[in-house]
Point group: C2
Chain length 412, copies 2
């Protein structure tokens, strides 16, 4: 018998029919003798509907009151799922964040979990009852309702698994695991049996939107065994999904490259000929940060004759705003010129193994060169190499890299 | 400065535009220097939408889980109204039933309020903050979410007014007060400036659905000054509505008859020639009660030769079921025959004054006779006289009674 925390997202609980399917899936685990805590999101579209209502009242809705109303989405789902489980003869009880009690700080709309009271849940589990918990929400020390921010239901799942010392936290989604790359671009893309937390973080931030980043960090911190599974597979014929592992796990297969991630929505800006002096990066990015624009890659090469060039990428939607800010600040920062390009994309090879395998970067660059793809920017971390290329080369680059690193071959 | 509790129903908060209108109305009272606690219902249609979702899962939804999800309707409205008040520069804070804390018993879907903690609300009111409370909901001693049953938001308003010793509880609805009868039937129907709790109870149960009965009982018990007002009237041009008064109020105008109530959806059943012995009424009505059919009027006249006739009325929708039950039980109860009529209606004259004015009943019967209306059943209480007549006479009877009791004339 194991204690399993399962999390089902908005698509999995989109309507009463799907909620009944989730109940059947939960029941199949229960019948195998496991104890179950099930975290659910709002029915898909519901959170956006509620935010839309709020915005009809206030352009920037009051955060406390927004959390009060948006948290109702998950509250509806827990009630419905508990009913669906009772309907098929199982004992079940729903919990809001307040009822659990999931204590958070008071940072409305982006609260952080401080502690979880496992007492009531434990009593229910010991009484053979399935515990249903509203994802995404908590309560602060004063009893105000808080939410954890978008995708926070994953975080709730992981946090509950940590608090209950669960054997596994299963994140059900509409894909059957994490893939070596997007199968829509490379049909040979393979599901990974396992991926490390560090790789998952790089994959997620690079656009493989299977799991919310914060929940992965959380799982890593508290050593929660996390598994990504599909809620759409036929009962009895489920695959094993993808296990998110720890690097120090023994006997873990360590492929050199685990996957090829990419991000289509990038734009790049370059500040040419700025004085090569301390504080210049802060001066340029400070203006961008004040406008609440997220910066992704940042590159500054060595300078010549006391001046240097400074490049960074932003989300494509923010490109015009970022360009205008730089044009305005041009004189103040002493730049010679501002250039930009919003027809670019980012392609990255991610893998723990690259740390112990030299030559990965050159292998990657050669593969791109052989396809005639010009590299516009390069950025590297311990376990990933990212390149910026013309947007039109995205599919070609992803396919070339998927092939050169043998990702279409099952690992030995 | 007064402390006023206001309650706005589902129609008044049906969409963001109307919620903004409610905010303006609340603001106009606030600007006059009053302290305000505002109770709101779910946006109209929302509660039914949620119940509909539940019924797609369970034909008879689990009561605890139904309350968990149905209570979200009001929770959305409190957030939106708090936003609307902040948007126009006022301080406001929303409270769920749990946050107030409105403690109830654990009778899910029809819970009764046990106590209300006024501490947090008082602190907000003293801080010049408008308190917004979700109607219809509470929490039991174990922290489970409960609801008070349909129309429970009125009860929440009255209970809060009692707990806070408010100067007045204002129930905003889509009519500007309680009328002498339905203006769609009698265009000369007048708004009553005042009506007693007892009259209101008789009017409400007879089909004048302005206020939920339980809230009126509650207001009477705790001596809460209750006023029915329209939320649709133009700001600055509001009428005084109808004040629900106590009989022992000094200087209170006591009209003989306050209004003519009616109920179209009635059906009558008669059990003919049953043995005139103790327990026969229980035997007949026991069968009906077991089928969960509500009985309204009950009439048994003196018997002859050891047998008697027994009549009662039920809601028209229950007529076929009630008839079938009686036919089945006919032999057991020893009845000669069962007859029935589902083309009837009930018309009632209601008024505190009739207790001290003899002759009201004969005046009523004469008025009906003059219109050629045959009376099929009669039932009386301290402050009302009800008759059952053919359905086709409903409008004629209501108009005749409205006229004969001078209800179209403003009270002296």
């Amino acid at each position: 018998m194991a204690l399993i925390v399962q999390k089902y997202g908005g698509t999995s609980v989109a309507n009463p029919e799907r909620i009944k399917n989730v109940a059947q899936r939960v029941a199949s685990w229960k019948r195998r003798g496991h104890q179950l805590v099930v975290v659910v999101s709002a029915m898909s579209g519901e959170t956006n509907r509620l935010i839309g209502l709020a915005k009809e009242i206030q352009a920037s809705p009051d955060p406390r009151e927004l959390d009060v109303m948006v948290s109702t989405g998950e509250q509806v789902t827990i009630g419905l799922l508990a009913m669906a489980l009772k309907e098929i003869g199982l004992k079940a009880r729903s919990y809001t964040g307040n009822q659990v009690r999931i204590l958070t700080d008071d940072a409305y709309t982006k609260a952080r979990i401080l502690s979880i009271d496992d007492q009531a849940m434990r009593a229910d589990l010991d009484d053979d009852t399935i515990v249903i918990v509203a994802g995404f929400q908590g309560v602060d020390a004063k009893g105000n309702i808080t939410t954890l921010g978008r995708g926070g239901s994953d975080t709730t799942g992981v946090a509950l698994a940590a608090a209950l010392k669960a054997d596994e936290c299963q994140i059900y989604t509409d894909v059957d695991g994490v893939y070596t790359t997007d199968p829509r671009i490379v049909p040979e893309a393979r599901r990974l049996n396992a991926i490390t937390f560090e790789e998952m973080l790089e994959m997620a931030s690079l656009g493989s939107k299977v799991l919310q980043i914060r929940s992965v960090e959380f799982a890593g911190k508290y050593k929660v065994k996390l598994r990504v599974l599909s809620s759409l597979e036929e009962l009895g014929k489920e695959g094993p999904g993808t296990l998110i592992t720890f690097e120090d796990d023994k006997n873990m297969e360590q492929p050199i490259i685990s996957g090829i991630a990419f991000n289509r929505d990038e734009a790049k800006l370059t500040v040419l000929g700025v004085p090569d002096r301390p504080g210049i990066a802060y001066q340029i990015l400070g203006e961008i940060a004040e406008a609440n624009i997220d910066v992704d890659m940042i590159i500054q090469n060595i300078g010549h004759d006391g001046s240097t060039d400074f490049s960074f990428t932003v989300n494509r939607g923010e490109y015009p705003k970022a360009l205008a800010i730089l044009e305005n600040a041009k004189a103040k920062i002493g730049a010679r010129d501002i250039t930009g390009d919003n027809k670019i994309c980012k392609v990255s090879a991610v893998g723990m193994g690259m740390r112990s395998h030299p030559g990965i970067a050159s292998k990657m660059f050669r593969a791109l060169a052989e396809e005639g793809i010009n590299i516009k920017m390069i950025s590297t971390s311990e376990i990933k190499i990212s390149v910026v290329v013309d947007e039109k080369y995205l599919e070609l680059a992803v396919r070339a890299l998927h092939k050169v690193f043998d990702l279409d071959q099952a690992a030995a």
